[in-house]
Symmetry: C2
Subunit: 330 residues, 2 copies
DNA sequence: GCGGTTCACTGAAACGGTTCACTGAACCGC
DNA sequence: GCGGTTCAGTGAACCGTTTCAGTGAACCGC
């Protein structure tokens, strides 16, 4: 045959074995048929190079055996690391994830979440850009969703691994305060609903409690862009930074280097999330560690359980932050 | 309605408008029907909250409007950056990519590539783990594939952005040789078919030409694992490293730091690929730069063209390497 | 030898769209 | 007033599975 040769269908296998398509379908899934038939069908399928079409299967059965991973912003190195970790852990469970990047855009997040649902993923892991968006509730009705980072407002998720951001923020700000800093620039990722997120509000509250003089600046996470924003903050006289993502802190390093300002001598930086690279810089980035491996394990456990069709349940794990002191705070 | 309420089908829209399902299908895609009907159908669809089911659509039409991105190993920070870049560029084209990670495993690469094809992605971007694998040829028959990094052996791809690895390797080794290094450990990512890849062979050839004493060691790209391998190489007495991915070079930094060996004083490191973080380390990592933005642009242009159903064509862009000297070579 | 199970399998209807071949009406020039 | 186009829309087949409700045969105990 010269052509790409259309792939075999279940009917051809049925014809070849003298069975009905239904029987073949059952046999290939090891259901309701005799061992002997199963073997016969399997052989015929092999011979014809038959493999079930996942699209047709999804349409008929409503399931796919896949998992979706919707990342809020893949520009964040930490989210990248998380995505990779989740991918590997799913591989160990003989599954794989379709990874999508909402690019920090709530509208896109909504579109992609729906898309994934329509693709019939069996379950979804999401790191929400906008956890307060109303569509989550509806989405969770028909699809098990595991949220990482923040709980989804008003939604019956299948599981949550949330960060105790209040504690994390307190840890960071107290550390800065303890080192004598009073005026702090908070560099926070561009977000859907600033500053009404609990974490952001908490920054302000804690700052008040500790007598800190805070300025909140939103910053993108791509290194070049973050560097630019950090540079402007440096130009504006800021010398102490609390970055709501290590990625952004790297931008502060770069901007400080450009201006030949030393860390921690002249500039102080704190990160948030603890990306592996943070330990490699000099000085190492002092940051707040969330135990990425633990998060991956927990999220994957929940999502696999849900995707396997386990009874609905609502696990909730609250991650406790840990201060990772490395020397970037003067 | 209390239930999640099943979503509307095209037949309901047809009923509501008094048209046939076919007419609705055409109308919603702006085909073959009067403006007036289009408007009427659109309104009814809106009213009913109708949205076409992508799975059913894919089954019937064989197309999805999506693009697949199959990464050889997402543990490589550079590949992560590439994936993010491609995602963003596709977003600007009103498309999105399903990202999959082959995790450096050729068997998984094959499975996932097939999976993506079966999912009816309109086109595929791939950074092959094993560009010599025979299945690529077959895959390219039915699906436009754009390869990044290496050309796919014997396959009619829709486009290629290949790296001139010979030039890159020469650049790196000559630089090391020029600085007086004779004994060099080459840390290369775990690969399918070592060392028969052209790039790897070329390392050996060039090493011979330059009179270098080479030892090739495979290393994973996750920081912790790379650090371990680098540590063993250091323990074995190696002091000059050429790493076939910046990610691995980071492992050398970490291992050197653990042993309190200074870079570039006591240990020399060269990377390959130029990840943004490489400029942030101190000393900066001397590496070979491939112009990631250019690669992203080229690959996305090719893939969008192919996904739009453009006439088959075989663009081929060869990236030229550039030495990015930063100070990690003694 | 009879009702009742179980077993292995079948037929046909979904699943929710797209597309092909066709139709009736309107319109054209001549 | 007639053949030929174009236009807007229809009906039914089709995409390749799964699944539901049967069905006939074999086997059961009694």
């Amino acid at each position: 045959m010269p052509q790409p040769r259309k792939r075999a269908t279940i009917r051809e296998v049925a014809k070849a074995t003298g069975l009905s398509p239904a029987a073949v379908s059952y046999a290939l899934r090891g259901l309701q048929v005799s061992e002997e038939t199963i073997e016969r069908v399997r052989r015929a399928a092999e011979e014809l190079g038959y493999e079930a079409d996942p699209i047709a299967r999804a349409l008929a059965s409503g399931r796919t055996g896949t998992v979706g991973l919707l990342c809020g912003s893949l520009e964040d190195l930490w989210q990248q690391a998380l995505a990779v970790g989740i991918g590997r852990a799913l591989k160990d469970n003989d599954r794989y994830a379709f990874i999508l990047d909402a690019a920090g855009d709530p509208a896109r997040e909504r579109t992609l979440a729906r898309q994934l649902r329509d693709q019939r993923v069996d379950a979804l892991i999401v790191q929400p850009v906008d956890p307060a968006a109303p569509f989550w509730a509806g989405l969770c009705e028909g699809l098990p969703v595991v949220a990482i980072g923040d709980a989804l407002a008003g939604a019956r998720t299948a599981g949550e691994v949330v960060f105790d951001n209040r504690a994390g923020v307190t840890l960071a700000l107290e550390h800065l305060r303890g080192r004598g800093h009073r005026r702090v620039a908070v560099l926070t990722p561009t977000r859907a609903s600033t500053p009404d997120r609990p974490a952001d509000l908490h920054v302000l509250a804690e700052a008040g409690r500790l007598g800190l003089d805070i300025e909140v600046v939103t910053a993108p996470q791509a290194l070049a862009a973050a560097t630019e924003v950090a540079g402007m903050a440096l130009a504006a006289g800021h010398r102490a930074f609390f970055c709501f993502a290590d990625s952004i802190a790297y931008g502060v390093y770069a901007a400080a280097a450009e201006r030949e300002l030393s860390i921690p001598g002249e500039v102080t930086v704190m990160g948030y999330d603890d990306h592996p690279m943070s330990g490699l810089l000099s000085p190492g980035l002092t940051t707040v560690d969330w135990d990425i491996d633990g998060i991956v394990r927990a999220a994957v456990r929940m999502v696999v359980f849900a995707a396997d069709g386990g009874p609905p349940r609502h696990d909730r794990i609250v991650q406790a932050p840990q201060l990772r002191e490395r020397g970037s705070v003067g």
